[in-house]
């Protein structure tokens, strides 16, 4: 929080900068930059000097003002538990190695980020205060693009926008697959979090092939075929020889990933997006059971989204546009507002890719099944111009958009959103059960349930964005309590998160069991005995 409102700044006009300088530290948190635990100011200053010698003084950020953009996040942080001590931004693998040497020497904890827009999960902020952000954004080279195999090798700082532009400029016949926030986020960062997108290549880690990792001791590991002399197969074959290692560097703190290979989808001759509209909240079970067989046999090839009405409405509207009362918005109001906007209570987006002939052969099979389940099947013919349909049409072909971030200002201009994303088998009873439980808990705490289900093959990710008002401490406190209650009560039913915000990493890690935690701890100790890399990441010290 900056402690300074938009109105103040705008009103300040041309003298804005002096106002900013005078008031930038207006909240108590802003005034106390957090040092690493058990590190004295002088040791920190010495470490900073050594880091400056490596990357140049422009690329070490260690005072209040220059670290401000690393502190911004959408999640609640009432007690200042996720405040970094600073940031250091290398531009090469050699600089990363040199930084790790300094970190080991002074026991300086480093929190690696690729583009640091892990929105709803903590953005660039670390699992505990005092860690220094290792910002890899300057390493933004596209290292290889194999136009025959459709593979790419990129550095952490490469955004999906850069790849999109590269493909367009060189007229390459490939599509990328993006999370809904592609332009400003990283293919490496997203894939390391095991993020998802909405084309047939939507399971990002599944489509990843080969990585380079700098370990805490400075050694450089190339996974898969990457360490074979004169290898030509690094981005073609995932598994290499012996234990498959790539997985242990995702959602982990075992190394710093400096290169990552991905497979890209050949551009199809024809692309046809669909939406299936269901009128009632209970219909999510029918939608799930209808989609599952088609995802299993691949007649529907892409990452399908079953979007709840409120998630959709929240993208383009504010809460006060729909409701001015207290407590959660009544379901009937949501339903009516959805109808007014051409939406159902659930809106299932899928697409077909191929030729006119293959699509014409598949479409009637899908139509018949969805219609039999009570859904209305619609295409561009009926939906062109509907902003939600246009949005998903963009996503299911890997296009660039940031429209979904609109939901972060649901409660007003201060913003506020934290994600809870439990997984479930793709069965109707499971989605119905999860939706009922989430709605009950969220409504109890005064929040609106704004759901999306991202259907993989046999499972789905239930993406619940808890929207709150970060400018209001009471709302932040309730958001925190609500998220924790959801994690615990979903966990009691065997439903756990596939990923979590920096504020709940330990809580979720405990649900995966003691042995699991011990194994992770042993690997951590072997690879990073000084625990300098991202302590607390996914509950690993």
């Amino acid at each position: 929080m900056s402690g300074i409102s938009r109105r103040d700044i705008l009103a300040a006009g041309a003298v804005g900068s002096s106002l900013v300088a005078a008031r930038a530290f207006a909240t108590p948190l802003d005034g106390t930059r957090m040092l690493p635990k058990r590190m004295s100011r002088s040791t920190f200053a010495t470490a900073v000097k050594e880091l400056q010698a490596i990357v140049g003084s422009d690329w070490v950020f260690a005072d209040e003002e220059s670290t401000v953009s690393y502190r911004k996040s959408f999640i609640p942080d009432l007690r200042g538990e996720h405040v970094p001590s600073g940031a250091v931004a290398p531009e090469s693998v050699e600089e990363v190695q040199a930084i790790l040497k300094v970190a080991n020497k002074y026991r300086l904890p480093l929190w690696p980020i690729s583009t640091g827009h892990n929105m709803g999960y903590g953005m660039a902020t670390p699992a505990s205060s005092g860690q220094m952000i290792l910002d890899l954004k300057r390493m933004n080279r596209i290292l290889d693009f194999d136009a025959e195999l459709g593979t790419i090798l990129v550095e952490p700082g490469v955004t999906y926008q850069q790849i999109h532009d590269y493909i367009a400029e060189h007229k390459l016949p490939y599509w990328i697959d993006v999370p809904t926030v592609g332009p400003i986020v990283s293919m490496v960062g997203n894939t390391l979090e095991r993020g998802v997108g909405y084309t047939p290549y939507g399971d990002h880690f599944f489509m990843q092939c080969g990585m380079e990792v700098v370990l805490a001791d400075g050694s450089v590991l190339k996974t898969g075929m990457g360490s074979v002399q004169n290898s030509t197969t690094w981005q073609a074959f995932k598994w290499g020889y012996g234990p498959y290692l790539d997985g242990i560097f995702t959602q982990s703190n075992f190394g710093v990933v400096t290169k990552l290979g991905m497979w890209l989808m050949p551009q199809p001759p024809v692309y046809k997006p669909f939406v299936v509209r269901y009128p009632n909240a209970e219909d999510v079970a029918k939608a799930t059971d209808t989609i599952r067989p088609f995802r299993m046999n691949n007649l529907i090839p892409n990452g399908v989204l079953i979007m709840g009405a409120l998630y959709q409405l929240a993208m383009f509207k504010r809460r006060t546009d729909i409701f001015n009362g207290t407590g959660a918005i009544p379901e009937e109001l949501i339903k009516a507002e959805a109808r007014r906007n051409g939406l159902g209570m659930w809106n299932t987006y899928f697409a077909l890719y191929g030729t006119d002939a293959t699509i014409a052969a598949t479409e009637p099979i899908l139509r018949a099944a969805f219609e039999a389940s009570g859904g209305e099947v619609l295409t561009e013919a009926e939906m062109t111009g509907n902003p939600w349909f246009e949005h998903h049409k963009t996503l299911m072909r890997g296009g660039m958009t940031l429209e979904e971030i609109g939901l972060v200002r649901w409660w007003g201009s201060n913003g506020g959103a934290v994600a809870f994303a439990p997984v479930a088998p793709a069965k109707g009873a499971e989605t119905a059960g999860q939706s009922a439980l989430a709605r009950e808990i969220m409504n109890k705490h005064g929040f609106d349930y704004a759901p999306a289900y991202a259907v993989g093959g046999r499972e789905l990710h239930h993406i619940i964005f808890l929207m709150f008002d970060k400018g209001d401490d009471d709302s932040s406190a309730r958001a925190e309590t609500c998220i924790n209650e959801m994690i615990v009560r979903f966990g009691e039913k065997g439903w756990c998160a596939y990923r979590s915000s920096v504020s709940t990493m330990d809580l979720v890690a405990r649900q995966y069991g003691e042995t699991n935690r011990t194994v992770n701890a042993r690997i951590k100790h072997a690879l990073d005995p000084n625990h300098i890399l991202a302590p607390g990441k996914q509950g690993i010290a």
Binding site: S2, R6, I9, L10, A12, G13, A14, G16, S17, V20, D58, W59, V68, S69, R71, K72, F74, A87, A89, E91, T115, G116, H117, M119, K137, R138, M139, N140, R141, I142, L143, D144, F145, D146, A147, E148, G157, Q161, Q162, D165, Y166, E169, H170, L172, P183, I184, M315, F316, P387, M400, T401, L402, E403, I405, G406, V408, R409, S413, G415, K470
Partner: protein
């Protein structure tokens, strides 16, 4: 190097040759737009490019207010970019360099209204 990489290298040589001719004949016309090359970091972008590949996805496009054509002060724009605000993430010098931000803020401050943009 991949097949494409080679093709790209050839394209670069050709482009360089074309540029030489173009420079000598018509002082730069015909030069290729400066995109990113394989193995090289992203070159400094024009304000238009930074706007269209970051700000413009939100501002005037359903998520954020229109900011062009309002004569917003340069300092204000720079402040918002580095600090973020509500639903707007903060952008760091590693993703929008100080040089890019300076030019961007000036450009936005002076840019006319774009009729294609609409508010939130």
């Amino acid at each position: 190097m991949s097949r494409h990489g080679l093709a790209h290298a050839f394209a670069r040589v050709a482009a360089a040759a074309a540029l030489l001719v173009a420079v000598s004949v018509a002082s730069g016309t015909g030069a290729l737009a400066a995109g990113q090359e394989l193995g090289k970091v992203l070159p400094t972008r024009s304000p238009e490019k930074v706007y269209s590949s970051t700000c413009g996805y939100c501002h005037g496009h359903n998520v954020g207010p229109i900011i062009r054509g309002r004569g917003l002060p340069v300092e204000t724009i720079e402040y918002f970019v580095r600090h973020g605000n509500g639903a707007m993430p903060a952008f760091r010098p590693t993703e929008i360099s100080n040089t890019e931000l300076k030019a961007l803020a000036q450009w936005i401050s002076q840019a006319p209204v774009d009729a294609k943009e609409h508010g939130q």
